[in-house]
């Protein structure tokens, strides 16, 4: 674990020395503050729209950050050749993958806390009340979702050599999983024969990222999610992240790295 945390530390250092996170945070801040300062149509319920927009921005920003950060990890190491002095040390390829994952996931978690704290301050100042349990559940599940996304992108990064193509492909897949994934079983029932079976199988095979999206609960002040459901979703995310990272390791361990 020592090597995994050492590698994760370098990933986190790289992220905070780059400007990506600060740009995203300032962008979210500006949009939310502008929206928060106007009271459209003298409607007190406008706060719900504000919450919805703010949470949507947080989701988009966190996905962009997770995908772009994870996509460049291994290809950039290979491109800049920093991978050679690193792997010439007692570091296994499994530790390299695990360290990269840990670094990206922890960095995304830290960014997520900043984004949600900002959201919390804006909402508390407008609503004068705050559903703390739902808020914490939303952060936790969002972070678990980013774990699956990060693992998926790392898998992509050992397959595709160019970070930009990997990021684009992964972004399309993630958006597809979020918006279409949950409807695949319904689509499958309308398709006859083998294609229908394939779509049905796909429904059970893909990670259902929509499980982690509880934005509606905090927007509409609904009661918190059952603690067992949260635990189940966490386990589900851990299982998928582990599976995706294992596949990434399986591909990467056989790859010849030539100077």
């Amino acid at each position: 674990m020592n090597n995994v945390f050492a590698l994760a530390g370098v990933v986190i250092k790289e992220l905070y020395r780059r400007k990506d996170f600060y740009v995203l945070f300032v962008m979210i801040g500006l949009i939310t503050l502008i929206l928060g300062s106007v009271n459209l149509f003298n409607d007190d319920e406008i706060i719900r729209y504000l919450k919805e927009i703010c949470l949507l921005l947080i989701w988009i920003s966190s996905l962009v950050m997770a995908i772009t950060t994870a996509a460049r990890q291994i290809p950039a190491e290979r491109e800049s050749r920093t991978i050679f002095p690193l792997l010439a040390k007692p570091v296994s390829r499994a530790q390299l993958i695990a360290g990269k994952f840990m670094g990206c996931w922890l960095a995304c978690g830290a960014a997520l806390v900043c984004f949600y704290l900002f959201y919390g301050v804006i909402v508390a100042s407008r609503e004068h009340s705050f559903a703390i349990i739902q808020f914490l559940q939303a952060i936790w599940l969002h972070w678990a979702c980013l774990g699956v996304v990060t693992a998926m992108v790392l898998l992509g990064s050992v397959v595709f050599t160019a970070p930009s193509s990997n990021a684009t492909i992964c972004f399309i897949i993630v958006v597809g999983l979020l918006f279409v994934g949950q409807y695949l079983n319904r689509i499958a029932t309308n398709i006859a024969g083998i294609p229908g079976t394939i779509v049905h199988a796909l429904y059970f095979l893909i990670p259902h990222l929509e499980f982690f999206d509880i934005r509606n609960i905090i927007i509409h002040d609904w009661p918190p999610v059952n603690v067992f459901a949260v635990a189940g979703a966490t386990l589900y995310a851990a299982l998928y992240a582990f599976m995706l990272l294992s596949i990434a390791w399986g591909i990467f361990r056989r790859k010849a790295l030539t100077l």
Partner: protein, 250 residues
């Protein structure tokens, strides 16, 4: 001979990039032994298989057949690299880190205890004369300074075997002299140095033994003085004879 590095019947074949093409045989039945405390020169023309052999020793490429071990441990196991230091030909380090951070990161990988870690960082920075720039980001360094960072990271774990890939390439005469001094000092400490180079004059000065590789096979191996005596010419002419370029008699 107490072998620090041993290569037995090593064969490395790279698969073809296209479907119809033939695979490329980079190393073909290579056998080599390097003993404790030796400075060993690994020579050969471009494409002879030197880098591929080094890639196998460092775990970057898996052998197609045969085996290689360092201190008796199969190179396929990461722990085989616990006691080695590696200096690549060109500098490839995290440019967003400063030298101190980079060395601390590598020291953590070697599991050097915290107190010892700081002591080692100070010692290697002093050795490569980069103490004054330890807090500067590596991206702001000159090429020579970056090469010295490379040397510092290769020495951070006080290695018993140092693998150097053309260590003086791109260095000015002062830098070359410094590298030679360091190799000499390591030899005096009983460390083993395995290095590839095209600078045959330099090899003649610092190496105890050399192996000349051509088309994936060792064509000649032995003590530098013995090879010179056997062929009745200097190392450069020995090299040219072996790789097939006719030389004028001296």
């Amino acid at each position: 001979m107490n072998a620090v590095l041993e290569i037995v019947d090593l064969r490395v074949e790279y698969p073809s990039r296209d479907l119809r093409g033939q695979s490329k045989l980079a190393v073909n039945g290579l056998n080599l032994q390097v003993g404790q405390g030796e400075v060993f020169g690994f020579l050969g023309p471009n494409g002879a298989g030197k880098t591929t052999t080094m890639n196998v020793l460092l775990g970057f490429v898996n052998p197609t057949a045969g085996s290689a071990s360092i201190f008796g441990v199969d190179v396929l196991k990461p722990i085989a690299r616990q006691r080695i230091g590696y200096l690549p030909e060109l500098t490839y380090y995290y440019k967003f880190l400063n030298t101190e951070e980079l060395l601390r990161f590598y020291a953590k990988i070697f599991k050097i205890p915290r107190g010892e870690r700081e002591r080692r960082i100070d010692a290697v920075l002093k050795l490569v004369e980069l103490e004054h720039a330890r807090k500067r980001l590596i991206k702001t360094y000159s090429k020579g300074m970056q090469q010295r960072v490379g040397l510092a990271q290769a020495l951070i774990n006080d290695p018993d075997l140092l693998i150097l890939d053309e260590p003086t390439s791109g260095l000015d005469p002062l830098g070359r002299m410094k590298v030679r001094e360091i190799i000499q000092r390591l030899k005096e400490q009983g460390k083993t140095v395995f290095f590839s180079s095209h600078e045959l004059g330099e090899v003649e000065t610092v190496c105890d033994r050399v192996a000349i590789l051509h088309e994936g096979k060792v064509r000649e191996e032995g003590r530098v003085a013995d090879l010179i005596a056997k062929h009745q010419c200097n190392l450069e002419q020995v090299f040219l004879k072996i790789v097939g370029v006719p030389t004028q008699s001296t």
